[in-house]
């Protein structure tokens, strides 16, 4: 579905990363692991076109045969380091007014809220919620609509063990439905995935 | 022309000749205009300010158009040198606008007895000066100079749309409030004796501008690329 060849990125003459090669197929998971400043976020933003300057090749394709490419990132979901939960909106509104939720019915949203464990707080302002609960709203957004690829920037931070377990379950469940995940983190997770270590690539 | 090293090398060769040409034509024009052109029978000798005032005013406007063209190029094709050109041209353009304003004001004090009139010409030139200031201010506020170039290009392009509107609207605004008593273009057809030095002056000022721009652009290029290898070799010298 996504194939990256010899990806390289500079920022003011400094190489952030180079010779990055990976491939994600339908239902696959890929983890990019590295310390702070190793360019994890840059990789994700670069794939999405938010950083225009890079060298290397990025191939997107819907089906398995890579000849039929150029689907671009239309069916991608991105969750950045900032998860974009507005404190003045209720949990319900935060789910509804998002990339994935604007076509969802109230029933669907209630179902998703139950799945991620915020059904009791749906009409509460997000400013009253804890960091972990906000994170759960963000997880709820993944479920509102099926995307082919999810790009998640450090999804495990600010979550307790239960929350981590929830993410792992959800990812496994969505894998079986054909969605793929590209995840960054400081250390490898328990997910079944290919793992790429950015720090080792970077040695100069 | 597009690459900074090429421009730098090219300008190293041509800059002295450009300076020579500029100084010759510039001083010839001013010398002719201030020293030898005949006295105006209506205004007396003070009209000689025209040889400073009009070329500056012409440059003030054409430099802005140049910047807008560069802005468009830098926005569409991301040409590095176009962005640097705006950066270097803006202070020079602001300088010529200032000259046009100040000399016009001095001239006005002599002939009209007042430093300033809210005439359409004067007002729109003043606004042009504000536009230059906005561009210089925005550029200096952004630390990343490549970003600053592109931000400034947006303003330059916006300006070229808005400048004609300002010109027109100031005219309308003027006619609505009071009929203008004075216009700067009151002298009807000038005599060739006065017109020829003016032409030389415009030419000399333009050459001077090109030299100033090259000079300033060289500094900008060296500053931006001071960590690059070619600058280390050509500017700082090869010996270590």
């Amino acid at each position: 579905m996504l194939k990256v060849v010899n990806l390289e990125c500079h920022r003011s003459d400094e190489v952030i990363f180079k010779d990055l090669n990976f491939k994600i197929d339908r239902g696959d998971n890929l983890e990019i692991i590295g310390s702070n400043g190793s360019g994890k976020t840059t990789v994700l933003r670069l794939l999405l076109g938010l950083i225009p300057s890079f060298s290397g090749e990025i191939h997107w394709s819907t089906s398995q045969d890579s000849s039929k490419s150029e689907e671009n990132y239309t069916s991608c979901f991105y969750q950045g380091h900032q998860i974009g939960i507005k404190p003045l909106l209720t949990a319900y509104e935060n789910l509804k007014f998002s990339t994935s939720g604007f076509n969802s019915s109230d029933d669907e949203i209630a179902l998703v809220a139950k799945r991620v464990g915020i059904e009791g707080f749906l009409n509460r302002r997000s400013s009253d919620l804890s960091a972990g609960q906000k994170k759960r709203i963000a997880i709820g957004r993944w479920l509102l609509k099926d995307f082919n690829l999810y790009l998640l920037d450090e999804p495990f931070t600010a979550l307790d063990d239960k929350g981590v377990k929830l993410i792992e379950d959800i990812i496994a469940e969505m894998n079986s439905r054909g969605s793929s995940f590209l995840i960054t983190g400081h250390r490898p997770s328990r997910l079944k995935s290919h793992k790429i270590y950015l720090d080792q690539k970077n040695e100069r | 022309m597009g690459s900074p090293p090429f421009f730098y090398r090219w300008s190293t060769t041509f800059s002295p000749w450009l300076a020579l040409l500029a100084v010759i034509v510039f001083s010839a024009g001013l010398f002719w205009g201030i020293g030898f052109a005949p006295t105006d029978y209506k205004q007396g000798d003070v009209y000689r300010i025209i040889y400073i005032h009009v070329p500056s005013a012409i440059l003030a406007e054409s430099i802005y158009v140049l910047m807008a063209v560069c802005g468009f190029i830098s926005m569409v094709w991301r040409a590095k040198i176009a962005g640097m050109l705006i950066t270097s041209a803006a202070p020079i353009g602001a300088g010529f606008t200032l000259i046009a304003l100040v000399t016009g004001s001095i001239w006005g004090q002599f002939t009209w007895g007042t430093w300033w009139v809210w005439d359409a010409r004067l007002t729109s030139t003043l606004i042009l000066f504000f536009l230059y200031s906005a561009i210089i201010g925005l550029h200096s506020s952004i630390e990343n100079k490549a970003k600053a170039d592109r931000a400034v290009s947006i303003l330059a392009v916006l300006g070229v749309v808005i400048v004609p509107i300002i010109k027109k609207s100031v005219d309308w605004w003027q006619t609505l409030h009071q009929s203008s008593t004075f216009t700067l273009t009151s002298s009807p057809s000038m005599s060739p004796d006065m017109y020829q030095p003016l032409f030389v002056c415009v030419l000399g000022f333009s050459f001077l501008f090109i030299f100033m721009l090259t000079n300033s652009l060289r500094g900008e290029i060296i500053f931006r690329e001071r960590d690059k290898l070619w600058v280390k070799n050509q500017f700082f010298g090869q010996e270590r």
Binding site: R45, G84, S98, F102 | L131, K147, I154, L155
Partner: protein, 226 residues
């Protein structure tokens, strides 16, 4: 998965969200309103209470105050969305971003510009504006404040993450045509001349300005993504 009215859906989404957000934070619509009223009050204090003087200056005073307050109000329009990652979602979406930016500006004008126009009706009484020209004032302010919102959005995008006053300084010189047009309409109305020509010029400026300025604003926001 291809919804037909996807762009319209996005437009409504951004509008609804921004409207809800602005109404929950009362400062967004109260600050420009109060600023406007204070500035208008300052003029009689500085110029003296002479009725004939104020009456002749009223249109200009109201216009300057409306212009300044709608410009100051627009300053923070993108900063929150940019910082909390919502802006990323706009740029990832395959919808044309300038439509979403336009939604934000339109919403901002509804929340800040419209109250200012209402307040200008009240302040026209304080300043003894000739009552016959009130309609011209409203007409010219409707277009003028919207143009200022568009310009202010561009300034805010250019000064994103930098000082607030900078965006005002950048944009003020570019707002002069609007001011001149507005006062031209008012002067014509006071002299009982036909001002529909100026009105249509302003409309034309707006018609070019909406797509043009929104596109430039998108360019300006993109600068922060490099």
């Amino acid at each position: 998965m291809n919804d037909r009215n996807n762009t319209l859906d996005w437009f409504m989404l951004v509008m609804r969200r921004d409207l809800i957000l602005s109404f929950r934070r009362s400062a967004t619509y109260l600050t420009p309103l109060i600023f406007f009223l204070i500035v208008v009050t300052f003029f009689p204090l500085a110029l003296g209470p002479s009725q004939s003087l104020l009456s002749s200056l009223a249109a200009g005073i109201i216009w300057i105050s409306a212009l300044l307050s709608s410009l100051l109000a627009v300053e923070g329009i993108f900063s929150e969305d940019y910082q909390d990652g919502t802006m990323d979602q706009y740029f990832i979406s395959t919808e044309p971003v300038f439509v979403l930016i336009f939604a934000k500006v339109l919403c901002h004008w509804l929340v800040c510009g419209a109250p200012i126009i209402l307040a200008s009706i009240i302040s026209s009484l304080f300043l003894y504006l000739p009552s016959g020209v009130l309609f011209a004032l409203i007409e010219s302010l409707l277009m003028g404040t919207f143009f200022m919102s568009l310009l202010g959005a561009l300034g805010a995008a250019l000064a994103l993450g930098r000082s607030a006053i900078l965006s005002a300084i950048i944009v003020l010189p570019f707002s002069i045509p609007t001011l001149l047009m507005g006062t031209a309409i008012m002067t014509a109305a006071i002299n009982q001349q036909d001002y529909s020509g100026f009105l249509s010029i302003m409309g034309a400026m707006l018609a070019i300005g909406i797509p043009g300025l929104c596109l430039l604003t998108v360019e300006a926001i993109k600068l922060n993504y490099e």
